[in-house]
Amino acid sequence: MKLTLKIWRQKNNSTPGKFESYQVQANEHMSFLEMLDVLNQDLIESGKDPVAFEHDCREGICGACGVVIDGQPHGLLKGTTTCQLHMRFFKDGDTVTIEPFRAQGFPVIKDLVVDRSSFDRIIQAGGFISVNTGQAQDGNAIPVEKEDSDASMDAAACIGCGACVAACPNASAMLFTSAKVSHLALLPQGEVENEKRVANMVKQMDLEGFGNCSNTYACEAECPKEISVENIARLNRLYFKSSLASE
């Protein structure tokens, strides 16, 4: 299959970017990233600068590979990362527009690669539990309700890819932050530090220049791990409690 790609090219964050058109010969068994590999091989062979894009695991678990494909982060397929999107979902002759995630909190490094260290700083602000090293405790000594552990596991599925920010009309990082707060908040080990964690993570999120949540729910729809906006409601509750009713 032959495709026309309109790809955002940008040297670095201080140079304005623009779209360039390319032709690529792909087949339907390729993943989207493999199709880009083919394009880059062509570019390298003809002495041109290959398109920079990020990737690591290529099996949908690391969260590195986010790009916006025809207006949708990670492309048109629900609950799927870019690396798991296959070319059989495109037709011969299609024109595909590929852009980086666009948000003030995610400055462009080069072409389709953006700097997501703002997410790391949100985690550093409180996305952890404090435990002393030493003998591991018997896991069964701490009872956890099944419903809580399920909800916690669902939130923990977040791979920190940033598609929620990319999809949100306000570039808000609430789904990510709420997932990272929720997976700890629901378990006894994490609950201890809830108030401080929520206050610090929300503070850092606001400092990073993300927008405010308007409850459009674009994040939930585009999240490759289908993280629910119920987590955002939980974050709000915990934040009210932490700010207004803390001990």
């Binding site: 916006v68 306000n170 459009t216 955002i232 709000n236 700010s243």
Partner: protein, 226 residues
């Protein structure tokens, strides 16, 4: 108080203000509509004019009306600030942006709100200000003191097709604002649970349709039948 001002300045604190003021304004709309429906009664404006007299002289209601002005102002200023900040959070726009998963209303709360604001200014100028500066006629009903004939003011205004159109269109805008706003306000408050999400959505849709429909009916009725 620093913890409190810090809370109000946080993204979630700002949202809480939008949510609480928004829900208060919904309540205001319900009361306002139920009062205004007296315009429809066939008594030459007596019940409506006596009602406005009561609403503008009862000290408790006067206090509530000042609270309402303040909260509209707060909702508006906060809304415009959030809207500006949110635009700034994506300074470089997408060439292709998908609207597949979001509703028209949710994407355009700022624009819808701004249209509502312009409508409110017109609406206040047309009725509220005319009443405040005593530009209305006085009427006497039975043994009561003379009251301002706000009914006549309304009746004259709604004989003009332009006003009827403006009012009906503005109510459609409010309908969209509420369609997203009502359920959004509950999510902001942290109330999201399968047990009651359905009820909130149903109520939100009912309110978003019935309130604007009720308001829009009044100018149309006056234009056609009075």
């Amino acid at each position: 108080m620093s913890w409190f001002s810090q809370f109000l300045k946080s993204s979630i604190g700002k949202k809480l203000i939008m949510s609480l003021t928004g829900l208060f304004l919904v309540l205001f709309l319900v009361v306002h509509l139920s009062g205004n429906l007296q315009l429809l009664s066939d008594d030459g404006g007596e019940s409506f004019n006596m009602y406005t007299k009561f609403m503008t002289s009862n000290p408790l209601i006067k206090t509530i009306s000042y609270v309402t002005y303040f909260l509209i102002l707060l909702h508006t200023i906060q809304g415009i600030m959030i809207w500006r900040q949110n635009r700034g959070a994506r300074a470089s726009r997408y060439a292709v942006s998908s609207t597949k998963h979001t509703t028209f209303a949710s994407r355009n709360m700022g624009a819808l709100g701004t249209i509502i604001l312009i409508f409110l200014l017109l609406h206040m100028y047309q009725f509220w200000l005319q009443m405040k500066i005593d530009a209305t006629e006085m009427v006497v009903y039975g043994d009561y003191e003379p009251v301002k004939d706000l009914y006549a003011l309304v009746a004259v205004a709604f004989k003009q097709p332009l006003y009827v159109i403006i009012y009906v269109l503005s109510m459609i805008v409010i309908a969209f604002h509420l369609r997203h706003g009502f359920q959004s306000a509950f999510q902001t408050l942290g109330l999201n649970h399968i047990k009651y999400n359905g009820v909130i959505r149903f109520l939100g849709n009912a309110i978003a349709i019935l309130i604007p429909l009720g308001f829009a009916f009044i100018p149309v009725f006056f234009y056609l039948f009075r």
